[in-house]
Symmetry: none
Subunit: 197 residues, 4 copies
DNA sequence: TATGAATGAGACTTCATTCAT
DNA sequence: AATGAATGAAGTCTCATTCAT
């Protein structure tokens, strides 16, 4: 069959992206086969190749897009904030929100780096590092201003990121904990960790 | 061909286990192919089936063994400790040590659950949950005794686990940070998080 | 989309033909894919089907056209020649010229017969045979008149054809050898082969 | 099924080689699909990959082997011959014999070079060139000694090769022409081409 | 006339697995 | 215990072809 009436390529592309994210999240990139992905969006496997010429490139682009969006959203969120204590609160609220709202994406963004070719890896890992550096910078600034006691801002940043990212492992939007309450909890934990004695 | 002189089946089995852990850690279970695994230990793929009759079962057993060892080691480590503050310190030191010394194993123990069949999954996940419950119990006890301010021990346990487990993402044994210093750092962070105001 | 200004269907058809000859010459009919052919002439593969409804038929027509042109040009070239020695000289000059000027076409005309369906094959091969018969007739006539010593005109014709056609394997129009000189060389070689002792 | 009783890999390898030569000869490398090749030798397509890991490499090796054997046989045949007239006679008899006895192989050795990757091409083409140089050397020597009138030994070598190789296009071992007679015919044609006037 | 979307057949290749030796 | 030979299912990808727009 040729092109069905009223079908737009852009819609299909979005559907494929969404389906791929779910499959990669649940079973990993290697286990995501194109046959299943095609079925998810109502295509035959041959048709998928109009949208995914190479599975490997598709993954690299997907991860790159995710990290790019994360960074862009982050910069929007943090615009105009300079006080480190406020910046940290905003960082936590941003991170918790993104990592609960788009947990599948951040999960594969962290996990499937290992499935990339070296050059692709470098491209995406650099963006991941950049995000981490934003947090390190906030901590360093607070340390310099004396608002927190931090011995090693680099390690502390990694620890905070691990702590916060862990939320995506268990949070359920339909659970008993509201987003604002959740954010508050994590802000408290992080602030206590840095508190002057 | 007959068995080459000086080679014991038990040695080969250990070598296969070690090679498999490295491969799964680096590229995931789905991407670990038996041909490559066989090559790692100097066998042909046909011979591997003397040790690994089924790839899927092999993974399930591997994950089960890892969790079993973790729990056994944990119980040994914690024997005779009952004070919650001391218990928490010991939990942190144990966890950090295990998750740096055997980071590949804990990583695949967390990640590759998704590659298990439902029944296998249940078996392993139960042990993982059991480990988490040990921490929750410590926190609950401390809360009851009033040594910490904890609103939700369940969530706090998850947060602490995420925080601590994160160490396996970046720690290098040949880096500048010694194990005791690392442990001390994480103990401090965790204690501050729970400290009464 | 509508037809771009200044583009005529006949031009496109010629461009496709030229591009196809180059691709078939260089990598063979089976390796010529329509996507690449379309790209060569600035079209998408879907548009190509306005000009090439069936790849297989396209090849058959192409080969048929080539042989038809060869025969027509040959008959024009040979008009009015009847003396066998002069006829042979004209045959050589014609063949060398055609097989250097249009070497891609004669090459695929010889090689890609095997890619035709039986019925298509018969149609084209008959024309090829007809060309060979012209040479055989010249040789037979010369033998009867006693101007050459030829034992087997059929085999000799095949040998001369192979000898002459070989020129297309190595001749470069921008090389050091001029067309007239080249023709003279081959005329000499052929005449010597047939010379009375 | 596993290994059938009494099957040797070496036999299978030879059978595959023979079947591949026939298929490539008849329809070209691109049109030779592994499914059909497997069927020819009574295997499933998956089994074929024990012998042909990569189709492309297989072709390159095949062509390389053919040229290597041709050169080796040639050197054996020409051992101890130094007089150029005798050498030319021996060249013709060798070439005609090889190109009738193994015409499929020489055909694909000539034709399928174009299906090779550049590096593979260079490897095989060098051997082809080497063979041609043997003939050029014979002609040059005869020219220097004054036994033949040759203006351009390079072109003459190409012409002779084309003439001789053409035999593989039409010779049938079960035809009316015996091998010795055939050889004699071609020796005569070649000698006449070079004869002093 | 040109395009983009879709198809289905078939290509090469990978892989876990089986089993006679 | 190890190997080589074979299998079949499944994987990614290519391609000629169709057709609504």
């Amino acid at each position: 069959m040729a092109r069905p009436a009223g079908v737009s390529g852009a819609d299909t592309k979005q559907a494929i992206r969404a389906a791929a994210i779910q499959r990669i999240y649940r079973h990993g990139y290697e286990a995501m086969n194109l046959r299943g992905l095609a079925a998810d969006v109502g295509l035959r496997v041959g048709s998928l190749h109009n949208y995914i010429p190479q599975k490997q490139e598709f993954l690299a682009n997907l991860l790159d897009e995710i990290m790019t969006e994360l960074l862009a959203d982050f910069e929007t969120h943090m615009a105009g904030v300079s006080d480190p204590q406020e910046a940290l609160r905003q960082f936590v609220s941003f991170h918790v929100q993104w990592h609960t709202a788009r947990k599948e994406e951040v999960f594969i963004g962290n996990m499937e780096l290992r499935s990339l070719a070296p050059e692709q890896y470098a491209r995406v890992a650099a963006k991941r590092k950049q995000y981490e550096k934003h947090l390190t910078a906030i901590l360093s600034k607070g340390k310099k201003l004396g608002v927190w006691t931090i011995e090693n801002p680099g390690i502390t940043a990694k620890a905070i990121l691990a702590l916060l990212t862990g939320v995506s492992n268990w949070y359920r939007p339909d659970g008993s904990l509201s987003q604002p309450r959740l954010t508050k909890l994590y802000q408290l934990m992080v602030e206590r960790m840095l508190r002057n004695p």
